[in-house]
């Protein structure tokens, strides 16, 4: 209860601290404006033109279905990746042999460009939803896997011994010892994976789908509609920013506070 209360009391301060981020983003938009001013709207339309177009897209109802479709594909792939990556990573972390064995494989998976997976996915799944979902899954799994692996491997041996010496019941070991530590590694990995998924899904759609934001981008490209292209890009980036700063960052802070408290007590 007090946790919830404190969390709610912290919301205004957290939102207000967003002004700093907003200042930086506005500087970025100013750079965009400057480039557009220097090279003309054919090369880069003004930010206002893109935002106006985005507003028209949202207002006409054209934006939401595409965004929802893209989000569904990204989330499906991401959920699969998080489930598989976390589980496999945790299991691999438990055994030294398994983690040793899995490392080169992960390196290979991480090193393979998503576009290569996309080509395979297009051959396997054609123009169905499977293509973007699979590409997201395969691009995100290694990231989560490494996070889970590190989380398990870096568990403090002394703490484990102490828990054994005090004969801590299994649920206390799990919730008070293993989970907080592992989550503090897993969570950043999940956030990384989220950013990845969002990027990869748009790319996959651009090349392999008939609908979704990526496909809309492809249409804008073929029609040389710079305003629409930038409007879609802005929509994707804004959606990512919103999820990251309104949903994940607060949770991440909570998790990290946990870790800091751990450190203080240590």
């Amino acid at each position: 209860m007090s946790l919830l209360q404190r969390w709610f009391a912290g919301i205004p301060a957290y939102l207000w601290s967003g002004w700093g981020a907003l200042a930086s983003l506005l500087l970025l938009i100013a750079v965009w404006e400057a480039i557009s001013l220097a090279y003309g709207p054919l090369v880069l339309p003004e930010p206002v033109a893109a935002f106006r177009k985005l507003f028209v897209l949202i207002d006409s109802g054209a934006a939401w279905p595409e965004l929802a479709l893209t989000a569904r594909r990204a989330m499906t792939g991401l959920m699969l990746a998080i489930t598989a990556g976390s589980l496999l990573g945790l299991l691999a972390g438990l055994s030294l042999t398994a983690s040793m064995m899995s490392r080169p494989i992960v390196t290979v998976l991480l090193g393979t460009p998503p576009i290569a997976w996309l080509v395979l996915a297009m051959l396997w799944f054609g123009a169905s939803d499977g293509t973007p979902v699979f590409t997201v899954f395969i691009a995100c799994t290694p990231v989560v896997f490494v996070g889970a692996l590190q989380g398990t491997r870096t568990l403090d041996q002394h703490l484990k011994d102490m828990a054994a010496a005090f004969r801590l019941p299994w649920h206390m070991r799990l919730f008070d010892l293993y989970l907080p530590h592992v989550v503090s590694y897993l969570f950043p990995a999940w956030i990384n994976a989220l950013g990845n998924s969002w990027r990869v899904v748009v790319m996959a759609e651009l090349l392999a789908s008939a609908d979704g934001v990526g496909a809309a981008l492809a249409v804008a490209r073929s029609q040389l509609d710079m305003d629409a292209a930038l409007a879609w890009i802005a929509a994707v980036v804004l959606a990512l920013l919103a999820v990251e700063y309104l949903l994940l960052e607060p949770i991440k802070r909570e998790v990290e506070r946990w870790r800091e408290m751990d450190r203080e007590h240590a």
Binding site: W16, L27, A30
Partner: protein, 410 residues
């Protein structure tokens, strides 16, 4: 009687010359009142203003920035630089020279309509002499300070000197010089942030102590301050090079966001609602609102830029000078904090004046009445200030000491 009084004031041993802020805060308060009364008479009754280069609007901005705000800044720097860096107060003699330069600047600029280019040149030189001597006096101390952490004041003075020089070169060449005044306003916003970061630490922490709040400390954190200064600086440069462009609009919006971000430092609980912290907080609110209004006006091509500009001049600059002169003015004349009602009342009137002045730019309304109301509110605020504070500046210290030594805050 009056002549004898004036002659007494000119005597170097008069208490007026005891501390650098006394003559300059007195002149600033009187200038604030007189300049706005003249503006009021011009707007309301068409009474002529001194005919100067660029017309009445340039006169208005020139006098309030190069006259009123320069006087306040000179008084402030002459007092706080010795305080921040250690060492004795500045002597009466250089302070008297500075005052003379300031007065020559007023007379020469006001008469430049009749006397032409020579008077304009004299005015420019007098303003440069004022800033130059200010830099010459303060630079060695700011430089000698082991950490050199107050050098920003010196850069601000140098920037202002550049603006003055640019203004007069443009004016003498017959070009419209207003862009230099806009740049001056930007520099003053930066100067306010630099100065308030020093002042607010004392004021807010003192208020915390006063309120008996423990376990909370106010700190003006450099990263947020630097971001705000950076954004305002960028906007000022962009406005100078590309006035009325979307680019400067985005930069104004980023400056607004950066100033809002700066307020994070201030959100430390109820102490914010106490009188003196609230005044300084109000300065930042006005500054952020001003840049936001200007940014929106520039990005969406509306006509509200003057509303934003006056939130900066009246709300941020006018209120900051009022609060600093009121607090530092009393402290360095050996008095405790002002507890009477006129002081917060005047601050409220200034905030209201800024709002009313901004409202004058609302589309579709007749701007004259809000313009007059805002000017009147300003006059009442600074009239109250001059009425209560001027006697302090020309009287000996209540504690019988000499010089600038501050009271009120240990």
């Amino acid at each position: 009687m009056l002549m004898a009084n004036v002659r007494g004031l000119l005597d170097a041993r008069h208490p007026l010359w005891m501390c650098g802020l006394r003559p300059f805060f007195l002149l600033a308060a009187l200038a604030a009142l007189l300049l706005m009364l003249m503006w009021l008479a011009f707007l309301g009754h068409g009474l002529p203003l001194p005919s100067t280069v660029g017309g009445p609007f340039v006169w208005h901005a020139h006098e309030l920035l190069f006259g009123f705000a320069f006087a306040a800044m000179a008084g402030f720097l002459l007092t706080v630089v010795p305080e921040f860096t250690g060492g004795g107060d500045f002597e009466a003699k250089p302070v008297r020279w500075l005052t003379l330069f300031w007065l020559v600047g007023r007379v020469a600029f006001w008469s430049s309509g009749w006397l032409g280019a020579p008077a304009l040149a004299v005015s420019g030189l007098a303003h440069l002499a004022l800033l130059g001597s200010l830099a010459w006096l303060t630079a060695p101390r700011l430089w000698r300070d082991p950490e050199r952490k107050h050098l920003a004041f010196l850069w601000a003075v140098a920037g202002l000197a550049l603006c003055v020089a640019g203004f007069y070169v443009d004016a003498l060449r017959g070009e419209f010089p207003a862009r230099w005044l806009h740049a001056t306003l930007g520099l003053f916003m930066i100067l306010i942030i630099v100065a308030l970061s020093r002042i607010s630490m004392r004021i807010v922490n003192h208020a915390l102590e006063e309120a008996g709040i423990e376990g909370v400390e106010y700190r003006a954190r450099p990263p947020r301050r630097n971001l705000a200064i950076f954004c305002i600086g960028l906007y000022t440069v962009a406005e100078f090079a590309l006035p009325a462009s979307r680019l400067s609009g985005w930069l104004a919006l980023s400056a607004a966001a950066a100033v809002f971000n700066l307020m994070n430092d201030w959100h430390i609980g109820r102490v914010l609602l106490r009188q003196r912290p609230l005044m300084f907080y109000g300065v930042y609110v006005a500054m952020a609102a001003g840049y936001a209004t200007m940014g929106i006006a520039l990005v969406f091509e509306t006509s509200a830029i003057s509303a934003g500009r006056h939130l900066l001049t009246v709300g941020a600059l006018g209120l900051a000078i009022y609060a600093v002169m009121g607090i530092a003015g009393r402290a360095h004349c050996g008095q405790l904090f002002e507890t009477r009602l006129w002081f917060p009342l005047g601050a409220c009137l200034l905030a209201l004046a800024a709002l009313v002045r901004a409202f004058a730019a609302w589309p579709g309304i007749d701007p004259l009445r809000p313009l007059l109301t805002a000017a009147l509110l300003w006059c009442v605020a600074y009239g109250l200030f001059a009425w209560h504070m001027a006697p302090l500046f020309i009287a000996p210290r209540a504690d019988g000491l000499g010089g600038c030594k501050g009271a009120a805050i240990p």
